[in-house]
């Protein structure tokens, strides 16, 4: 009667780590390694169905109930302010979201500051908590070029190793948030498909905490 649990997988940098984690939790997905061209992939046991999606779309699908669950970075989740459950911090895709500026620069105070970012809402919340209201410029790619070309004084972006920042002559001013991938679950699905979803949560939770 109840349909199978639909789970969104993030295309891109998290994809292999997410499917790897699922496999170690006992959820094997034939074709998930790119050998299948199907849009929907079933796991071996036929409990779950997986749909690879662009990460930024995943919270939208899960919040609306079009998908029951998904794996997505907390950077995207906080930016969209999605109303979903986050029962497991998967610990993959760890990085930091930071405020960064050119090495030599002194940041202007208050409203004069211009910040370029892919995360305008997160950036606004970060500065609002510090009672500051900079001008935020929303960009879609290569944010670190903003200050080089005079578009902005600073950036808010993800940093894994810090190499990109260093190579572009920038320094970290302050950490905005620690980022990692989360399992997210639709509020209604958690109740209506509770047995399957709780099993998924336990499987992932067990693998994640074996590693720590």
């Amino acid at each position: 009667m109840t349909r199978r649990v639909l789970i969104a997988l993030p295309k891109g940098r998290l994809y292999d780590r997410a499917t790897g984690l699922l496999a170690r939790g006992g959820i094997k997905i034939p074709g998930a390694d790119g050998t299948s061209r199907k849009l929907v992939l079933a796991d071996e046991e036929g409990k779950y169905e997986f749909v690879p999606l662009k990460p930024v779309d995943i919270p939208v699908y899960v919040e609306s109930g079009a998908m029951d669950a998904g794996i997505v970075g907390s950077d995207v989740l906080r930016e969209l302010e999605s109303d979903v459950y986050e029962p497991v911090d998967l610990g993959i895709g760890r990085c930091r979201m930071v405020l960064a500026a050119p090495e030599s620069s002194v940041l202007p105070k208050g409203g004069a500051l211009r910040v370029a970012t892919k995360y305008p809402r997160t950036t606004e919340r970060f500065f609002r908590d510090r009672h500051a209201h900079p001008h935020i410029v929303r960009l879609d790619g290569s944010v670190e070029i903003g200050p080089l070309l005079g578009l902005s004084d600073a950036i808010v972006d993800l940093v894994e190793t810090g190499r990109t920042l260093r190579e572009n002559g920038m320094r970290v001013v302050e950490e905005v948030a620690a980022v990692s991938a989360k399992l997210i679950v639709n509020r209604t699905a958690m109740k209506v498909k509770s047995a399957d979803i709780r099993r998924l949560v336990t499987q992932l939770d067990t693998v994640v905490y074996e590693d720590r």
């Binding site: 109840t2 109930g65 986050e86 029962p87 209604t188 109740k191 209506v192 498909k193």
Partner: protein
């Protein structure tokens, strides 16, 4: 003018033919049940002062579709029925016999994010029981709601029942300063119990109290979930809330297999003061409806009366029929 005026603004739609007929039929079944149970229909105004929504469920005011009156007063399209019903009852109190039983059906309008999957016009049907106390009034409102669902053919629908006092009592017993409570409530609401436990430990919350939070997060199921919660929670407010759910359970034997006790939810908005519940169907990916007890709302309209009510989404009912 031109093409733009023929289409619809984002977030609105026409309901036609089969869907319209299905909704009319469901509304008819619900109305018959409600009228039989001595609930009387009210049709609150479609336009309100925006400030009506400063009372009651916080968050509705921000989401109301607003516009200006001739004298520049801020008006809103109806964004919620409950405050309007509270006003209607409070304004007519001398002439009403308590408890007052009312039902309503119609659209409410709420802002959504740009390009959201949500609609801005939502069809609702619901009822309020003002001036009645638990457990009788709570049992009555759930009985009526479940009868509406049954009569309209939603035979596989269930209701997840909880009590706001259970988590409130536990959160109060954590001994945290008020500034931390919002953070902890929202962490409980996200259900990452490991992260929550780490955070509570950082804040110096005793292990014995932390383990109660973990235990409560697993209390879902039949009446045994209530026993389990009663066995692990020690504070008085939580225990008395569990006891009132046990009384509710014994008052509703007829619906025993329709009721799930789900104590894992926190009322993050702090709107409800007693029972709170959600109607669900395995055939639908969104909740069918919700409701609960809000004993402080009527006071904001100058009448200190307890109240309990429910409201169904006609959009969800129509899609799942």
């Amino acid at each position: 003018m031109g093409e733009r005026s023929i289409g619809l603004p984002a977030g609105f739609r026409d309901i036609v033919f089969d869907t319209a007929e299905r909704r009319r039929r469901i509304e008819g079944e619900f109305a018959a049940v409600l009228n039989d149970a001595a609930y009387r229909e009210v049709v609150p105004s479609m336009v309100e002062y925006l400030d009506l929504y400063a009372r009651g469920n916080q968050g509705v005011r921000e989401r109301a579709l607003r516009f200006l009156d001739r004298d520049d007063a801020l008006l809103a399209l109806r964004a919620d029925f409950t405050p309007a019903v509270a006003r209607i009852v409070a304004g007519r109190l001398p002439d009403l016999h308590l408890p007052v039983r009312l039902w309503y059906s119609g659209p409410v309008f709420r802002k959504t994010g740009r390009h959201s999957a949500q609609y801005r016009e939502l069809a609702q049907i619901g009822a309020e029981l003002v001036g009645g106390l638990p457990p009788e009034a709570d049992a009555e409102i759930l009985d009526v709601a479940l009868e509406c669902l049954a009569r309209a053919g939603f035979t596989d629908a269930s209701v997840h029942v909880n009590h706001a006092g259970i988590f409130r009592g536990l959160v109060d017993s954590l001994g945290l300063e008020p500034g931390r409570l919002a953070e902890i409530r929202s962490a409980i609401d996200r259900k990452d119990m490991r992260a929550l436990d780490v955070r509570l430990e950082e804040l110096g919350v005793h292990g014995g109290v932390r383990s109660q939070v973990g235990a409560l997060s697993r209390c879902v199921g039949d009446e045994r979930a209530l026993e389990e919660a009663a066995g692990s929670l020690v504070n008085e407010e939580s225990r008395s809330a569990i006891a009132s759910l046990e009384r509710l359970a014994s008052a509703l034997p007829r619906w025993k297999d329709r009721i799930v006790y789900d104590l894992t939810e926190i009322d993050e908005m702090e709107y409800y003061t007693g029972i709170m519940f959600t109607f669900l169907s395995p055939r639908h990916s969104a909740e069918l409806g919700r409701g609960g007890r809000y004993d402080t709302l009527m006071r904001e309209f100058g009448a200190d009366l307890p109240a309990v009510g429910f409201s169904f989404s006609m959009d969800a009912l129509g899609e799942c029929a």
